[in-house]
Symmetry: C2
Subunit: 693 residues, 2 copies
């Protein structure tokens, strides 16, 4: 759907324009106050010939020109008739504030379906319903329904939100400057994904910022993320739905289904999406990326304070958030020592003392020296910007930062305040003008800086996606033997195995396989084999094997009366090693997701798993393994033999490729455990479940 | 040391008073601007007869009355002579801004020692040196060296900080109102602990707030904490030194040694100290406690939003920070449903919609109904307070909160904004006036609310402390056998054991103990027995025992040539269970600290340990065990048998009591592993190390 008439209209009509409080009046007042160009604006009100001194037309049809965009401030029942009028004026976009649609349950959902059908038929892209409007600061259009403080909000952040209140939060946040602001509301025929796609394409947008409750176009979302990653345009997303409670609320708020939240977050990770945990983070990250002159080229930071106490607090925060501290080269250290008083010392975090912090030329020199140090990738000034400048400290420091930023090749500089984020607007503007982000306070600042360093130093690997063509229902589980055979057919190495329908056959097969053996029931009807006496381990000879065969068949027949018992599965006992779990879960929206974790309590109690969309490149697979908290246990923990991590990565890659190929058949794959020893990896059990097509 | 003349002086002299910028001028300007009573102030300057229109005296000796407190704005070399003059005026307190003392290294340390010696001799309590001064808002004294914004800062927070900049941060933070503000600087003869003790005793102080770099009076600190806990006066502490880097910085900043940081945090926990991780938290917690009308009586919260999107974000945050959501009683639910529009739904977090949020009487009724619900302990309004009130929403909501707070028995209400903490000061003041804390944004707010709920619902258990009388040097390690015997003598149950000097003796003892046995070298000189072939397990009969004896003696003699080999230690093999570690480490400052954790990777990789000062009550011991992330593994994980948690708690208590009794001998005790089964606990190995007195 082409969004140009909706988001970059040449002519605009406000229907229901008014001077009174409410959607119509507030939108009109905002528009007249904040928009650049009023020549292409038409007001419509059947009962008033003039509004705020401007001519008002009785209806859309009375407007003498074509109208690209209509802003409908009127109640629900008027919307479809107005769209029909609009279509006659070649309209291509409509903003619908009215509520009473899918957010109100089944009846409202039906009304929304009718709206979508009509809008699609008329070729009109609808923002909303149940939304708060839009602003386009590039073309100077401000069609937003909530009153806001008067100030310049233009900039390069493109923001889209399913919540009007969260758009308002963005507009109220003093560091945010926008290209476009979009309150998508119920997102009826234009979805959040369409807006994201528009903003990623939009040349005026440097940073895309979004609040999302639900995903409806997963393929477009992934394509948009990929496009953004390739052009290195950062996307920041606050996605509610980490908790069951917020998923429930989203359903009642905009009728969104959160979908598989954990999977979505794995997709975010793959494409380098900045994930915000709350509004302060959403605005903090977006504003930082918007202001930042250029990305750091590495991860090593120098923190500069004007207080020993605050340097100590900084050191603790920096460690907590995993921000790497640069080590000065000897020449930098020697130079900085000449700047501090005799009792001072040069550290990182660096307490500059008043000698540097209160002296613009000296601090300028210090910044130059630190920036020139090849061990340093970024600088962060950690100092609170008080509401009013009472001594000259801040002025001196901001001035030094401005001078430094004018130096060619100056490394990126950030500014982190300690106490609330109330900013002296002159200092803030000075920092913005030289590309120095003013971050929120302490913890938020460190979290944001860490995310920016991660983004800046991670190369995007453009692996293909594997989103299934359609949803499927029903499922079919395979026996361990069948599951393992299927893996083998797809190039996954599996240990030797054999099935035997009778005890005699088992004995014959055992000779080929070699003792000791594991013996398990072979039946697609029995998934939990141990629970029904279907497993015997460490079978050492023919006698034990015959006993095991009889015992297993008898026990399973008793305990699972209807099951078809096809005999037993024989496998040589594996050399135990670190027990890993590999799983594949084919997500409705995002296709097969591969999971790896260390078996037992690590997965279950410590939730120590890594998840990523299939297929995986080798470096992605290695990254997942190394991202596990339990990774040290695989890698020669306490002087032990390192496990075959490379072999495990190869296995992950092969399984992920198989899963991607089978994206329209595979439902789940559970490989548990995989034993990892120093000599290799060995799959001990597998369960494959497909869709029943 | 009596601090009354220092902190509550009746007469004050500023020495070095001036009209120029700098310590003297800025302090004078501040004093004249912010102090209530100027009648008891005397300015001293040898070269000017008048300052800001007030008479200035040539010297302290010229002042016609006694002077309780002198504020010395003059350089280092003048300080001791001035103290001598001051003593002649019966002075009892001095504020010393001058630097060049222990923060500058060995030479400065010597100067500081001289200052302390002289001040002690003269009976003068010194704040500083290298400090920024004090303010006493109760008596209206503002003797602070940094210029600050003009506003009312009086309140009930007593703040002490080793960093002047952090005091300034507190003074600049708009929600902070103070009884006393103390910049302790190098804390020469009055220590941070003395100030804390004063503030805990001070009737005008409701909340004690501190930034601390180092501890020098651990006994006084613990006594002060205990006193505060008994009178339920909250103490909030930001202690730098979580990282090695910040410990290093503290040493160079105020010459403080951070001491054993982990131990100090265990002490904080014992006495319910609020621990702040940065300045935003220090001020946020302090201000919240200062404003809060009364503590919640339980933990269940209701969150109220005026946006579905923000309700979702709240739900995610609330889960992340472990804030329990109240479940409405049916009558509350039924009533609230009558208030929301037909499409609205009543949840927690509760999107009130405009019907409630924009309507004062309706919101007042909603608050009354929610507060009356016995399932609800606290209410949190989650809504951003914008810098200026553009629509009436905030006014409506604040007004409703004010009305509600006037209701008898109203539950505590908190206010959490989402976007930066820039407050509309009228709204903030309205909330403060009715005891509703205005928290910092999102994550900070949730963390603070969680801490307040924990504090409010945890009863302080007044167990005795066990701080050692003096430090010791040297150490003596005991063999496993001796260590275990010592435990047994102190009432700790240990499994049967025997030592044997010869193989024949071993065989005889084995008959009494019963096979299978573990056999280990018995030698106080060998601590790592396995590494030198000194351990054989699962010895099943006499033959194996003789072989084991010979092998152990031979291997140890070869591998540890000088060691005195006293034979072997025999013990029946224990039934393995969950492997726990119990340790005691006798802290220089805080005495024996007891540690418990699950053995192996849980302690080492996941750092999953609990630490608390000895002795432990039974409920404290149980609390430690249940506080382990790995606790589910002890308690019938996945349908397994629950381990003997009670037995483990008893063991912890007994060991902690022994450690407390031996606080002047014991250095370390390492009990590793303790096997915990469903039937009991069994110590498998122990190492006791004492001081070599």
């Amino acid at each position: 759907m082409n969004l140009n008439k909706l988001l970059k209209p040449r002519t605009i009509a406000i229907v229901g324009a008014s001077e009174k409080a409410g959607f119509g009046g507030d939108t009109t007042r905002n528009y007249l106050k904040f928009s650049k160009n009023l020549e292409n604006l038409y007001l419509v009100n059947p009962s008033r010939p003039e509004i705020f001194g401007r001519k008002a037309y009785p209806s859309l049809l009375d407007i003498p020109v074509d109208v690209d965009l209509v802003i409908l401030c009127t109640p629900q029942k008027t919307i479809i008739p107005l769209l029909k009028d609009a279509a006659q004026k070649n309209c291509g976009g409509a903003v619908v504030f009215a509520s009473g649609y899918s957010e109100t349950g089944a009846g409202g959902k039906k009304k929304q379906d009718e709206l979508v059908e009509e809008a699609d038929r008329l070729g009109i892209a609808v923002m909303g319903p149940n939304c708060a409007g839009l602003a386009n600061f590039i073309d100077g259009i401000f069609a937003f329904a909530f009153l806001v403080e008067e100030r310049d909000r233009s900039g390069n952040i493109g923001m889209v939100s399913q919540s009007g209140q969260i758009v308002l939060a963005g507009l109220d946040s003093p560091n945010m400057g926008f290209s476009h602001v979009i309150s998508s509301g119920n997102s009826c025929n234009v979805k959040v994904e369409d807006y994201l796609n528009f903003l990623v394409d939009d040349e005026d947008t440097k940073v895309v910022s979004a609040y999302i409750e639900g995903i409806t176009k997963p393929k477009l979302l992934v394509e948009t993320f990929r496009k953004a990653a390739l052009k290195k345009k950062p996307i920041v997303i606050l996605k509610s739905g980490r908790s069951a409670k917020s998923q429930e609320l989203a359903a009642s708020h905009t009728g969104s289904l959160s979908g598989s939240d954990q999977m979505l977050r794995a997709i975010f990770k793959r494409y380098g999406i900045f994930e915000a945990g709350d509004l302060e983070e959403l605005c903090g990250i977006s504003a930082a990326l918007s202001w930042l002159g250029e990305m750091p080229k590495g991860r090593n930071c120098v923190f500069m304070n004007v207080s020993g106490g605050e340097a100590g607090v900084t050191a603790d925060l920096v460690e907590e958030y995993g921000l790497p501290l640069a080590e000065y080269k000897p020449e930098t250290l020697a130079y900085l020592k000449t700047l501090v008083p005799v009792y001072g010392s040069v550290n990182n975090p660096f307490d500059m003392t008043a000698e540097i912090g209160y002296n613009t030329p000296v601090m300028h020199n210090a910044l130059k020296a630190i920036s020139k140090d090849e061990n340093v990738d970024a600088i962060c000034i950690a100092y609170t910007i008080t509401p009013e400048v009472w001594d000259a400290t801040i002025t001196h420091m901001v001035e030094a930062v401005k001078l430094a930023r004018a130096e060619p090749g100056m490394k990126p500089i950030f500014w982190m305040p300690f106490i609330e984020h109330t900013r002296d607007s002159a200092s803030a503007e000075a920092l913005r003008s030289v590309g120095v982000p003013l971050l929120p306070t302490g913890r938020y600042a460190c979290k944001i800086l860490r995310q920016i360093l991660d983004y800046a130093t991670t190369d995007f690997e453009d692996t293909p996606g594997a989103v299934p063509e359609q949803s499927h229902i029903g499922q079919k589980a395979f026996s361990e033997y069948e599951s393992l055979c299927h893996l083998a057919e797809n190039g996954v190495p599996i240990p030797p195995q054999a099935i035997a329908a009778t005890a005699d056959e088992a004995v014959a097969k055992a000779v080929e396989l070699g003792y000791p053996l594991s013996v398990k029931i072979h039946s697609a009807d029995i998934l939990h084999k141990s629970d029904v006496g279907g497993v015997k381990l460490n079978i050492r000879n023919e006698e034990e094997l015959r006993q095991a065969f009889d015992s297993i068949m008898k026990s399973c027949a008793e305990k699972v009366p209807g099951a078809k018992l096809e005999g037993v599965l024989l496998k040589p006992m594996l050399k135990p090693g670190a027990e890993m779990i590999i799983g594949v879960n084919n997500d409705r929206d995002f296709g097969p997701m591969v999971m790896v974790g260390m078996g037992g309590v690590f997965v279950e109690l410590f939730k120590d798993v890594q998840l990523a969309p299939a297929p995986l490149s080798r470096s992605q697979a290695l990254g997942m393994i190394k991202g596990l908290k339990s990774y040290p246990l695989l890698n020669g923990y306490r002087g032990g033999q390192p496990g075959d991590v490379d072999g495990l990565a190869d296995l992950l890659v092969t399984i992920s490729e198989m899963a991607a190929t089978e994206k329209d058949q595979l439902k789940e794959l559970d490989i548990n455990p995989v034993f990892v020893t120093e000599k290799g990896v060995a799959i001990a059990d597998a369960l494959r479940v497909t869709y029943e097509n």
